[in-house]
């Protein structure tokens, strides 16, 4: 089109374009019109702007403002139409069923074991403990000799051991084997926890398994006392069971410690009255603990005159089962446990 002609027909061209824009029904249509009239290389607006450049000074003065007006009018019509189309879409009257079922986006979940272990680790790492580990296949030395369970110790009969090559190579019967490994390897001061599986040759039933998870903790430092043990484990109980949990410490025998202590929490089912769940005790046993036996420290090469420490251990499976309402321990790792999101 002749440039002067364009400018001459400016009004009608612009109003025709604006009309077309205003009639657009979809955003796609509008985009095409936008390209055709406003933004494209060969768009009307571009043509007008180019046309203006070739004019003399006077005509520029005459048409300049008109081109600006045209630009404003076109852009405004685009914006207006866009708003109108959005509004139609937003206020669509067609009935929609918000109850239409939708599939949940699948999300992966960590096992109950990992969740509970992490909950415990969170407490202990906050208090400066490392999370440690050790081998499942163990030697008599680390599993028994160094844990203060020499060959003829009666407790060995209680811990029916699964052997790979008796009497020296076995599956660890407790995570205390990791305690003795670490105390034999690193120099104190030490603070660490060990979540881990242990094995005993026991008849299995809904509440007892030959393969079970333990959670063990150890502190060795200067001046460590029963007072420290009590405070740490009381705080831990609050972390796991809430601020209001009531704990008590009572004497309990474990070969690895002396003095030994069991920690109970008040039975929440009977509030201490004694019921079937707590076997009439009114309290539920949560963990075993005590001051690390000086024989154990010595066998691991630590001088008990300089260092003292406490250790504690608990079965994880019962805690996991309670938290996730699992009633049969065999379901925990037996291949049946399906996580449903």
């Amino acid at each position: 089109m002749d440039k002067s002609n364009i400018l001459g027909n400016l009004d009608s061209l612009v109003s025709g374009s604006v009309q077309k824009i205003l009639l657009a029904k979809t955003l796609r249509e509008l985009n095409e019109l936008n390209l055709e009239f406003v933004t494209g290389k060969k768009s009307l607006l571009n043509e007008l702007t180019q046309g203006l450049k070739s004019l003399g000074a006077e005509e520029k003065r005459r048409f300049g403002p008109k081109v600006n007006e045209a630009k404003a009018a076109l852009e405004e019509s685009i914006k207006e139409t866009e708003n109108r189309i959005h509004k139609i879409s937003d206020e669509q009257k067609e009935w929609f069923d918000v109850t239409l079922p939708a599939d949940r986006t699948p999300i992966g979940h960590l096992s109950p074991d990992t969740q509970v272990i992490r909950q415990m680790n969170a407490f202990f790492t906050y208090h400066g403990y490392s999370v440690a580990e050790g081998p499942d296949i163990e030697t008599d030395e680390y599993n028994f000799e160094k844990t203060n369970l020499p060959k003829d110790h009666p407790a060995r009969d209680l811990q029916d051991t699964i052997y790979i090559e008796s009497p020296e190579i076995l599956l660890r019967t407790h995570t205390s084997s990791v305690e003795t490994r670490i105390l034999s390897t690193y120099k104190p001061p030490l603070r660490f926890v060990v979540p881990g599986v242990s094995f005993r040759n026991e008849i299995i039933n809904p509440s007892n398994h030959a393969i079970f998870n333990q959670y063990q903790g150890v502190v060795v430092d200067k001046g460590i006392s029963m007072a420290n043990l009590k405070a740490t484990l009381t705080e831990f109980a609050k972390h796991m069971y809430g601020e209001d949990v009531k704990t008590r410490f009572r004497t309990k025998y474990y070969p690895e410690v002396e003095p030994g202590a069991g920690m109970d929490i008040l039975c929440s089912f009977c509030n201490g009255e004694g019921c079937r769940i707590c076997k009439g005790r009114g309290w539920l046993e949560i963990l075993g603990s005590g001051m690390i036996h000086r024989n154990l420290l010595e066998k691991c090469g630590i001088d008990y005159r300089t260092w003292s420490g406490f250790a504690f251990g608990m079965g994880l499976d019962r805690i996991i089962m309670t938290k996730f309402n699992i009633t049969d321990i065999r379901d925990l790792h037996g291949g049946n446990l399906v996580l449903v999101n």
Partner: protein
């Protein structure tokens, strides 16, 4: 240990209720084992057996601890004088031929009249829950429950002599209950010549036992090597009151106590005195034990100052002999014979703290700063892997480390020389250590499918175990850490998960190489390499294997070795942070290549020539009849060039030829 309330009150004055007694005893180390119950008109407090204390296997021992807690004195029962010891003149002749006999003390009585026990004795025994037999047997049981020391009565007229010796293989005994025990050289017996009379560590024989016609008796209290007692009981499956007690560490003085007590009770109940000579075999007398406890150590363990006077008072309440005066911040205590568990300073400290009450110990956290962190990088990587896999939609499974050999075989991994086998197990079928992590994944997959899930993504992080038959001993066993995941997906779709997983660990640029692996379909099996090191294997699981596990559909599986991943993890940042928008020049390009040419190789060649700023994305692979005839396919990639380099890059790509 079952403690009938009224029987307990024979030895201690107390107004405490059974519940309060149970509470007190629980706190000092004798936890209530089950709810308090009524039996034979008495209330029974059933306490957990405490592993290291033989003394509390008798009601008297329990009374002693209760007395210490409640500041009472124990009312000891009457003890009769034991006649003069003369082993040579004792009749019948007794020979001890085993060093496993620690002490053997005996007396005999003549002219006994066997009859039922008086009502009060029967009531006591029934309240404890032990069968009532006759006056003599009841007396032996009474003493065992009272003092914790088993004793045994023989019918003197049924034996000529007694020899204490280890059994000979082939010897056997019918017990008083009628069970036949088949002995071996590990069992300690009492025999009359070649005829076994008792398994002396656990149970008496029928033939030499007390019957209604018995007139003359021998009563003996013997202590033996405890491990021998425990092992015989375990192997011969004799788990009774006697075996339970003789397996614990009782002091030889208990023999003296039990015989003295028998003399009193037989006099009281039958009105007869022992014969004038007693027997006592006790070659190695146990020394008296004295332990010193320092103020400093007591304070350290308690975490507070506890006066030695208070400690002394507590220990005296437990019948420890405290030497006075206290000197130099140290307490020297004589340990009473019955407390065989107390041998060192910390044992004495426990006595002080437990009777004083653990609740009195203050409560404060360790005062020193936290020590240096111990590093376990494999575990940390695995924890990170768990989070990544959960984000990718995988559910974590945890399976047993001990498996059925058949499971390993099903997955095609059984290797007799490499699998770690167990010598003993609670279940005959579960007799091997996990050798692969694939079979448990398939079992879990099946569970998900049974629950109606069609799309399943699961992972497990754990160890497998293997044996190197070239080595021996502990060194020959290896625990291999693995990260495996499995999904009901085909190879390529699963590869997306694998790549995202690795990328999140900071491992990009993985080379996939076709690799034959028994678990995977021949063509859909690859090993992954990073910088030339194999980090894992992935593939589509063979249909035949899935069928053995009853798993349906297409399943892909990957196994990574934690140790290998650890070498390369965080080699690259998993996140590219971009703030400026680059205007790329975008172009699709198609390469025609031989049909079996690996796309990975094309990509490798492209990456070799183009600049690092050029982004390449695979678009599609195309084959039609025409191409097939020529044995070719065409592969299209999308390129995003830096505008300034477009020309140069295009030129390089034009130069690429694939044959």
């Amino acid at each position: 240990m079952r403690v009938p309330y009224n029987w307990l009150k024979d030895y201690i004055n107390t107004d405490l209720t059974p519940k309060e007694i149970a509470q007190n005893l629980t706190m000092v180390g004798h936890a209530l084992d089950k709810a308090i119950y009524e039996q034979e008109g008495d209330t029974v407090i059933d306490l957990e057996d405490r592993g290291n204390r033989g003394d509390v296997m008798g009601i008297l021992g329990i009374a002693r601890d209760l007395a210490a807690v409640t500041a009472q004195k124990v009312k000891y029962p009457k003890l009769g004088a034991i006649p003069t010891t003369n082993n040579d003149r004792f009749n019948p002749p007794i020979n001890v031929e085993s060093d496993r006999v620690i002490r053997w003390r005996a007396v005999s009585f003549k002219g006994v009249k066997i009859s039922p026990s008086p009502a009060h004795v029967q009531k006591r025994l029934r309240s404890y829950g032990i069968e009532v037999i006759n006056n003599i047997v009841d007396i032996t049981n009474y003493i065992m429950i009272e003092a914790g020391m088993p004793i045994h009565a023989f019918d003197l007229d049924k034996l000529g002599s007694i020899t204490l010796r280890t059994a000979r293989s082939g010897e056997s005994l019918v017990t008083f209950e009628g069970t036949k025990l088949q002995f071996d050289e590990n069992d300690l017996i009492a025999a009359d010549g070649n005829k076994p009379l008792t398994l002396t560590t656990a149970v008496g024989g029928r033939e030499s036992g007390i019957t209604n016609g018995t007139k003359n008796i021998l009563i003996e209290a013997g202590l033996y090597d405890q491990p021998t007692a425990r092992r015989s009981a375990l192997r011969l499956n004799v788990r009774n009151e006697t075996a339970g007690r003789l397996g614990k560490y009782l002091h030889p003085d208990y023999c003296e106590l039990a015989i003295s007590r028998a003399i009193t009770l037989i006099k009281d109940l039958l009105g007869i005195n022992p014969e004038p000579i007693s027997f006592d075999y006790y070659p190695n007398k146990y020394p008296k034990v004295a332990v010193s406890m320092s103020q400093q150590r007591l304070n350290l363990i308690a975490g507070e100052e506890i006066g030695l006077e208070e400690a002394a008072r507590i220990l005296e309440g437990l019948e420890f002999n405290v030497s006075s005066p206290l000197k130099d911040g140290e307490l020297v205590v004589g340990v009473p014979y019955f407390r065989t568990d107390v041998v060192m300073e910390d044992d004495v400290i426990e006595e002080v703290l437990r009777i004083r009450g653990y609740d009195k110990i203050p409560t404060y956290l360790p005062l020193l700063p936290a020590p240096k962190k111990l590093e376990f990088p494999e575990m940390e990587l695995e924890e990170q892997a768990k989070d990544i896999l959960a984000r990718l939609g995988f559910n974590e499974t945890i399976s047993q480390q001990i498996v059925d050999k058949k499971e390993i075989e099903k997955a095609g991994f059984w290797d007799e020389s490499r699998v770690v086998k167990l010598e003993n197990s609670w279940n005959e079928e579960l007799n091997a250590m996990r050798y692969d992590m694939a079979s448990p994944q398939f079992n879990y997959l099946l569970s998900y499918q049974k629950h109606g899930f069609s799309e399943v993504k699961i992972f497990e992080i754990g160890k497998t175990y293997s044996k190197n038959s070239q080595k021996s001993g502990y060194e020959s066993y290896t625990e291999t850490r693995k990260i495996v995941f499995t999904a009901t997906k085909d190879f390529r779709s699963f590869k997306s998960d694998v790549l995202s997983f690795l990328r999140e660990l900071g491992i990009g640029e993985i080379a996939f190489e076709k690799f034959s692996f028994s678990l995977f379909k021949d063509q859909k099996s690859a090993q992954m390499k990073y910088n030339g090191t194999t980090i894992g294997k992935m593939g589509e699981v063979k249909s035949s294997i899935l069928a053995d596990f009853k798993v349906r559909g297409t399943v892909s599986h990957v196994v990574f070795y934690t140790l290998e991943l650890l070498k390369f993890a965080k080699a690259q940042s998993p996140l590219e942070l971009v703030t400026t928008i680059t205007n790329f020049v975008i172009e699709d390009r198609t390469f025609t290549v031989p049909a079996s040419f690996e796309i990975g190789k094309i990509l490798g060649a492209i990456k070799n020539v183009v600049d690092i700023s050029t982004r390449i994305t695979f678009v599609s692979v195309f084959e039609n009849e025409n191409l097939k005839e020529k044995g070719k396919k065409s592969v299209t990639f999308n390129f995003k060039f830096d505008p300034a380099r477009t020309e140069e890059e295009t030129k390089k790509l034009n130069g690429l030829v694939f044959r």
